[in-house]
Symmetry: C2
Subunit: 405 residues, 2 copies
């Protein structure tokens, strides 16, 4: 008998019919002999509706009150799931984040979990109930209601699975798993039956949309096997697990794409120690996250430093650069929001020479210019023009043999 944490996202509990389907699936899992803990998100676009309502009411949104408002969403979906379970003959009880013992810091709207005390969840399991837990929310050390930020419901599910030593954390969503590329971009993309935590982290960081980086990191740290699957087809999806040294690894598992970032170039900087540190300290002080960084020093001893940030941070990042332009002796600061990034990810890359060359050759052969390059041991990312990203993904998907038979 296994203990399974099942997390259902917003589309999975989007209306009454979907909620009944979820209850039916939980009932079948129970009937198969497993214990189940359910974690739910708010229904469909309910959270967006609440934010719109808040916008109508007031221009100010104290973070503590925003959290109080948004946590109403899971409260509704978890009570409804519990009612649907009762109709299936499955005894259950719903629990808020606070009741489930999810203790966070006081950083409202993006709180971090400090401690898990799921005593009531354990008691409910011991009593033969299916606990239905609100995702996305916790209670702070100051006893106030907090939310965990984007992807927070996945974090709740993984944290509960870790604390309860569950055998697997199933993430139900509206896609059937993790694919070798975004199926909307590459029609021949294949579902990957198994992905390592490391690969999944690289995919999440470079444009994979199925799981947020944070929940994958949490799952890896606590060694919680994840199973990403569809609540519409219920077929087996993608397992995300610790890399198995005995298994033969695909050289390249997936191609990801991302057009959410823009590039800033600080040009004509003297090549002196401390210049880059000064520049990136100025960005960090404004809480701007920098992603790729590339530096090239020319024969004239002057350096161009280019980096990418999410487009919403572009104006703030440019201001930060202009503020230190004189101090660091830069000639100019230019921006470019028409870039995109294409990335290949594969755990087998470490031991396979020639991958980089094949990637560059493929792009070059198709007339796609590479503007920035960044690599890790299992990933290569290239920045290209935004309007060439989709075809770049397709060429690479074919070149690395990922197209479905």
């Amino acid at each position: 008998m296994a203990l399974v944490v099942q997390k259902y996202g917003g589309t999975s509990v989007g209306d009454a019919e979907r909620i009944r389907a979820v209850a039916d699936h939980v009932a079948r899992t129970r009937a198969a002999g497993d214990d189940v803990v359910v974690v739910v998100s708010a229904m469909g676009k309910f959270t967006d509706d609440l934010i719109r309502l808040a916008d109508d009411v007031a221009p100010t949104r104290p973070p503590r009150e925003l959290d109080m408002l948004l946590t109403a969403g899971e409260r509704i979906s978890m009570a409804l799931v519990s009612m649907a379970l009762a109709a299936c003959g499955v005894e259950s009880a719903s629990f808020t984040g606070s009741q489930a013992g999810i203790i966070t810091d006081t950083d409202h709207t993006k709180a971090k979990i400090l401690e898990m005390r799921p005593d009531r969840i354990r008691e409910a399991l011991d009593a033969g109930l299916v606990p239905v837990v609100a995702g996305f929310q916790g209670v702070s050390t100051e006893r106030d209601i907090t939310t965990l930020g984007r992807g927070g419901s996945d974090v709740t599910a993984v944290a509960l699975a870790a604390a309860l030593k569950a055998d697997v954390c199933e993430i139900y969503t509206d896609v059937t798993g993790v694919f070798s590329a975004d199926p909307r971009v590459v029609s021949t993309a294949r579902r990957l039956p198994k992905v390592s935590f490391d690969e999944m982290l690289e995919m999440a960081a470079t444009g994979g949309r199925v799981l947020m980086l944070r929940s994958v990191e949490f799952a890896r740290r606590h060694q919680v096997p994840l199973h990403v699957r569809s609540s519409f087809t219920w077929e087996p999806g993608t397992w995300i697990v610790e890399e198995d040294p005995t298994m033969e690894e695909a050289v390249v598992s997936a191609v990801t794409d991302d057009t959410s970032e823009a590039k800033i170039t600080v040009g004509g900087v003297p090549d002196r120690p401390g210049i880059a540190a000064h520049l990136f300290r100025a960005l960090a002080d404004r809480s701007i996250n920098v992603d790729m960084i590339v530096q090239n020093t020319g024969a004239n001893g002057l350096t161009d430093i280019s980096f990418t940030v999410v487009k919403t941070d572009l104006d703030a990042a440019r201001d930060a650069c202009l503020a230190v332009k004189e101090e660091i002796g830069a000639a100019e600061v230019t921006t470019d929001d028409q870039i995109g990034r294409v990335t290949i990810v594969g755990a087998g890359m470490k031991s396979s020479p020639g991958i980089t060359a094949l990637m560059f050759e493929t792009l070059s052969a198709n007339g796609i210019n590479i503007e920035m390059i960044s690599t890790s041991s299992i990933r290569i990312s290239c920045v290209v023009r935004a309007n060439r990203v989709a075809e770049a993904v397709r060429y690479l998907h074919t070149a690395f043999g990922l197209d479905a038979a």
Copy 2:
């Protein structure tokens, strides 16, 4: 400097504009130098929407989960009111029933308050904040979320006012106060500036729709002055206070009407001790609340016992009577759902002879037959045909000099 508890009902926080108006009024109350605790209901018809959603999901509604579902409503309105207050420059913090220390029994969907521990509300007041508290909800001794049943938000407000020793509990609603009759029935009805707790209790029990019996009882027991007023016009409304022995009392303050009940007559019962007890025990065992009871013994030694119940209990009540019909030796059980009740209420009635006679004469002169009579020291109720109730109210309103000048 006074401490004022202000309770805003569903229509008072029905949309973004109304919520801003509430925040503005709270800000003005604070500016006048008073401390304020706000208690809110769910927005408008939000609770009805949630119940409809639950109906769509499942035919079963475990009471614990229904409470979890419904308490989402106040969570939304209290967070929005708090945001609107921030926009008015008023610092506030919202609190759930649980956070406000409202401890109840475990009787889900109609829990009773066992204890008030409003420590966090006191701390917030001491810190200069306006606490915004969820009405209608509490936390049980089993640490589960409970709701207080119909009129529960008023109970929350009165209980908080009592626990905090507030100077007044203001109940904001969509009418301007308590009237001498329902203004939809009697166009000349007047707003009453002041009503005693005893009168208000009788009015609530006989069809007055502004306040529920339960919150008035609670306010009387804890001597909390109530002020019922409009959140649309903000004008002074009706004070409900302890009777002041020095004030000259109106003989009759108000005429109420009620067509929500039906009559059952158990006829031809032998006039023996214990018969009525046996009958009403059978009703009590089925949790049926009986309102008026009239018994007449004829010259033949047989008795007719008539009583009224709310129409929704009529079938169950008839079944209960039929079940004991043989045992008590009754000849027949008949029902009548075409009755209505008209009531006059007035604290001055105690010391004014002739009130009963004037009431009966007024109805008789207009050809309205009286079918049942029930009295207390400050109230007289008559059951008449349902289709004569409205005119009966108008005749009595005029006869007792209540019409507005």
